[in-house]
Symmetry: C2
Subunit: 199 residues, 2 copies
C-alpha cells in the first residue's frame, strides 16, 4: 500500500479460538458413516434441529449440497469416491476452522479415506459416528429404491451389494439403528457433546 | 429406523435464514480480486479483525488454507486456475449457506470464472471487491519477490507479466490502493456492509 509501507504484514489475527469464543462452542466434525438407508441423513437432520434449538451453530454437509456443487465433476469409481471424501474432509476442516460444529452424512465406505480426514484434524475435532444397521434392514427400508435397482443390476458398484463397506474399527460413537429410534440416536450424540464440553 | 417407521422424512429444517438469525447478520461472500501485490491479503486480514471486533462472524479463504488443502491437486494452467476458482466458489457458497460473512482473497484473473461464482449466489450474496493497483506499484511492492522471478523467467504464466488479468467490468466496490491506505480501504468496505444492512 502506497500509504502504508510501514504497516507490518500480519498473519490472520482472528483465530479459530476467537471464532469459537464468539459462539461459545467448540468446533468439530461429526462424521457420520454407514450404509445407504442406515439412517445417516435422518439422524443428522434431526440432530441439526435439536442443536439449533440450543443455539449451537452447525452446518450439515451431505450429498445434496456437495455432489451437486463442489463435487459435481466426480463419479463413483474408487478413485472418485476417494477424491470425493478428500474434498469433503478439506471443506469440513475449513468449517471447523470457521468455528462451526460440522455434521457430515456420507456412506464413506473406505476406512483409509475416513482416516485421511481424521489426520487433517486435531484428535478432539474428528468425531466418527458409525450409523450401524444390518444390510437386511437397510435393504428393507430402501428409502430411495436404490437397493432394488442395485439388485436388478441397474446400478453398479453399490455399497453393500457389489462394492465394499468397511466398518469403522474404533468409532467414537456407534448408533445401532436396528435398535435405537431417531430421538434416541440424537440424544446419544447430544449427551456425548455436552459431556465433552463442545457446548 | 425400525422404531420410527412413522417418522416423516424431513428436509433440513434449519435454514440459512435460521443461521443468520442466530448470528444477527446477513451472510455473503466478499470476493476480493486483483493483481499479486495489490493488497488483497493485507486488506482482508485487517478487515477480518475489524469485523471480529464488532462481533461479526467471518471466515477468510486464501491461498494458505485452500491451495495447501482442498486444491493441493491443482496447478496453474488455465484449466486448473478455472477449477481452482470453481471450487473456491462452491466452498464460499457453502460458507454463505452456513451463515458466515466470507472473505476470499485470490487473484482470480478471469472474469468468466468470477461470474461463474456470482451465478452460484443470490445477487446480494456476491460482493465483488476490485483491489485496484497499477502493475508498476504491485511490481514495486513485490512482497513475495514473485515479480522479480517472473521477469527473470523463473515463473511462467504469472498474472500481469505473461498471463492476463481481466479487470472487473462492474465491481461492487473498487479499492484503489495506489491512493487508499489499508485503514481507509477497510473503512470503505465496513461502511458498505453497514449501509446495506449486512450487520
Amino acid at each position: 500500500m502506497s500509504k502504508a509501507t510501514n504497516i507490518v504484514w500480519h498473519e490472520s489475527e482472528v483465530t479459530k479460538q476467537n471464532r469459537q469464543q464468539l459462539k461459545k462452542q467448540k468446533s468439530a466434525v461429526l462424521w457420520f458413516t454407514g450404509l445407504s438407508g442406515s439412517g445417516k441423513s435422518t439422524i443428522t437432520v434431526a440432530l441439526e434441529k435439536a442443536l439449533y434449538e440450543q443455539n449451537v451453530h452447525t452446518y450439515r454437509l451431505d450429498g445434496d449440497n456437495v455432489r451437486h456443487g463442489l463435487n459435481q465433476n466426480l463419479g463413483f469409481s474408487p478413485e472418485d469416491r476417494t477424491e470425493n471424501i478428500r474434498r469433503i474432509g478439506e471443506v469440513a476442516k475449513l468449517m471447523v476452522d470457521a468455528g462451526i460444529l460440522t455434521l457430515t452424512a456420507f456412506i464413506s465406505p473406505y476406512e483409509a479415506d475416513r482416516n485421511q480426514v481424521r489426520e487433517l484434524l486435531d484428535e478432539d475435532e474428528f468425531i466418527e459416528v458409525y450409523v450401524k444397521a444390518s444390510l437386511a434392514a437397510c435393504e428393507n427400508r430402501d428409502p430411495k429404491g436404490l437397493y432394488k435397482k442395485a439388485r436388478a443390476g441397474e446400478i453398479k458398484g453399490f455399497t453393500g451389494i457389489d462394492a465394499p463397506y468397511e466398518e469403522p474399527s474404533s468409532p467414537t460413537i456407534t448408533l445401532d439403528t436396528d435398535v435405537l429410534s431417531v430421538p434416541e440416536a440424537v440424544q446419544t450424540v447430544i449427551t456425548y457433546l455436552k459431556d465433552k464440553g463442545y457446548f
